[in-house]
């Protein structure tokens, strides 16, 4: 497969690459099948009156969201965003400049909803919603990982993610959805997780995992499922049950809870942290998916809800749960609701409740990838920048060798892994490989300077994406490691504290 995709070369200096018009115009994810569409409440295929239906839907979205209207009205074409998108840097396609991506939607909004655009469309760059425009939307709104890096640099704070979400929402409303996201959301509604992993398979997988941990450590660490009255309900991405290196993170969480003596459980009804509804801008689906978690928490009678290593899930949980599925007055008010697994682990480390052997990680020379949705759309702990500090402090408490990547590529400036926002699908592999360029460049620097051999992340999408794209850039696939694997390897099980 590697030879089919032209992997961009590392740039010696971070120059802005020359534009190559139309270089990614061919990139389009598979269109959702009728049953995928219907499972998430959208028309099965392109509706007859699609042009009017799209314009109407766009009007509704703008009237419902003051933010969206401001984003569409306020761009002054200053150019600050043009070189901030990893997809532009990796593909050189000018329509992957954030301003150009926004303009795809802005042109249609202007045509139908502004005075100047209605009467003098050419003067203000307003365009009819034609088939050509529709195709461009489908292509380029699926070349945005909604990472929001551009919005950090925009003097008006225009959030391209909101615009690409709105674009996808309009496309869904006229029957042209993306297969990857919509099939997955449908599975969550039906089975409870992105994988479609039914309860018996989940139970079997977790049982096997308990055996493995006991074989490895000699300690009967439990990975409980559907335990009523547990203190904590852990909501984690289903990739944690299924894939590598995710599952080693799950083992890490289990060891943390075990060693701290906290009772916890997973839920087979709400066996998914991810909520792809955010990627397609669908409020109804967002709520429906999140509601399973409230239901599970009430049914199991837990006192706390903790979220595992999943980037956008933490954004949904931290920023939206309270209004979506709150209030959480049935949970223990002594703890944040929801709480991130990193907050739990960090607190336990601070309190001396975990005995950690840093030397257990001496073979690792670690750097940390800030996941977009954690970095730019949420927080951890009760200090500004806690979402940057806490994961790094956990790593440093568990390992002796930690090295940050360049400052312009971490914290709020972090570069997307290249697979976020509903783009982590095989049919977008070229985009994913190219979009990983800036992160791979930053990684190469710490590999060369400090012999870094471990890339730690706290997001299921980032982990899968890196496992896939690292080899294209001549790195080892297994460099990518779950943060809680590093924790789990350092924990001294069975010791008193």
């Amino acid at each position: 497969m590697a030879e089919e995709i032209h992997v961009p070369a590392f740039r010696e200096y971070p120059i802005i690459p020359a534009i190559v018009e139309g270089s990614m115009a061919h990139s389009k994810p598979y269109v959702a099948k009728p049953d995928h569409q219907q499972s998430v409440g959208y028309p099965g295929q392109l509706v007859d009156d699609w042009q009017n239906a799209a314009v109407k839907k766009l009007g509704e979205l703008v009237s419902q969201s003051r933010a969206l209207q401001v984003f569409l009205d306020s761009c002054v074409k200053c150019g600050a965003c043009t070189d901030k998108c990893h997809y532009y840097l990796g593909t050189q396609d000018p329509l992957n400049m954030p301003v150009a991506r926004q303009d795809l939607l802005r042109a249609v909004y202007r045509r139908y909803y502004t005075f100047a655009g209605k009467y003098f469309p050419k003067l203000v760059g307003a365009k009819d919603f034609t088939e050509e425009v529709r195709d461009q939307w489908y292509s380029y709104f699926h070349q945005c990982s909604q990472c929001r890096r551009c919005s950090v640099f925009c003097p008006y704070g225009i959030d391209t993610a909101e615009i690409s979400m709105a674009g996808r929402d309009v496309l869904d409303a006229i029957g042209v959805g993306q297969k990857y996201s919509n099939e997955i959301i449908g599975k969550v509604h039906k089975v409870g997780n992105n994988l479609g992993l039914p309860e018996p398979a989940l139970a079997d997988t977790l049982e096997g995992l308990e055996e493995d941990i006991e074989d490895d450590t000699g300690v009967p660490v439990k990975v409980p499922l559907d335990v009523e009255g547990a203190e904590i309900l852990l909501i984690t991405p289903s990739a944690d049950f299924f894939a590598e290196p995710h599952i080693d993170g799950l083992i890490g969480y289990a060891k943390v809870f075990h060693q701290a003596g906290i009772s916890w459980t997973l839920s087979s009804f709400a066996s998914e942290a991810a909520n792809f509804s955010m990627f397609i801008g669908s409020h109804d689906n967002l709520k429906k998916v999140a509601m399973r978690i409230r239901q599970a928490a009430l049914d199991l009678g837990v006192k706390r809800i903790v979220v595992g290593e999943c980037g956008h899930a933490w954004r949904v949980a931290y920023s939206f749960w309270n209004t979506l599925i709150g209030p959480f007055d049935f949970l223990d008010p002594k703890y944040p609701a929801p709480q991130h697994i990193c907050e739990v682990t960090y607190d336990l480390i601070q309190r001396g409740a975990l005995k950690l052997d840093k030397e257990a990680n001496d073979h690792r020379r670690i750097t940390f990838h800030d996941s977009c949705n954690v970095a730019r759309a949420s927080r951890m702990g009760n200090i500004p920048g806690g979402q940057f500090i806490i994961p790094r402090e956990i790593i440093k408490a568990c390992a002796n060798h930690f090295f940050d990547m360049a400052p312009e590529t971490i914290h709020q400036n972090t570069f997307c892994c290249g697979g976020g926002g509903g783009l982590l699908t095989d049919d977008l592999m070229e985009l994913r490989v190219k979009g990983a360029l800036p992160r791979m460049e930053a990684l190469a620097k710490v590999v060369n300077e400090y012999d870094v051999n471990t890339l730690v992340a706290i997001c299921a999408i980032c982990k899968t994406q890196f496992a896939k794209v690292l080899p294209y850039y001549k790195f080892q696939m297994d460099m990518i490691t779950s943060l809680h694997q590093v924790v789990g390897d350092a924990i001294q099980l069975g010791t008193s504290h």
């Binding site: 997955i184 992105n194 398979a201 493995d212 299924f242 894939a243 590598e244 599952i247 991810a274 297994d478």
Partner: protein, 110 residues
């Protein structure tokens, strides 16, 4: 998309996964493997057969760890790891082996 196997047309989706699981046969698996540039050895078959057995019981492909453990038991401990499975199925054991086994593609962040 479609596969031609033994004079029969087998329907696949745009990524080459079988549309109807009942269409699967050893010959169909061989044909998918050819399309994937894979030579099916006995060890490939061990993986494919295990996937099918597991799917039969649980209606889902096994997690990578479940698979590596099972293969380790069948083929020896040195082969019970994902590195070995990637040698057999370079595009990833979960997706490529499922495709050959006639199972649906695992979805999600995997």
């Amino acid at each position: 998309m479609a596969l031609e196997v033994g004079g029969k047309t087998i329907e696949t989706d745009e990524e080459g996964y079988l549309v109807n699981r009942d269409d699967w046969s050893q010959q169909v698996a061989e044909a998918i493997a050819v399309a994937e540039n894979l030579d099916m050895t006995e060890n490939h078959w061990e993986v494919v057969n295990f996937l099918r057995e597991y799917y039969e019981e649980y209606q889902i492909a096994p997690a990578v760890r479940v698979l590596t453990k099972a293969i380790g038991k069948k083929l020896g401990k040195d082969k019970g790891n994902s590195k070995y499975l990637y040698e057999l199925f370079p595009y990833g054991p979960a997706k490529q082996a499922c495709k050959i086994a006639g199972l649906p593609k695992p979805t999600g962040c995997v």
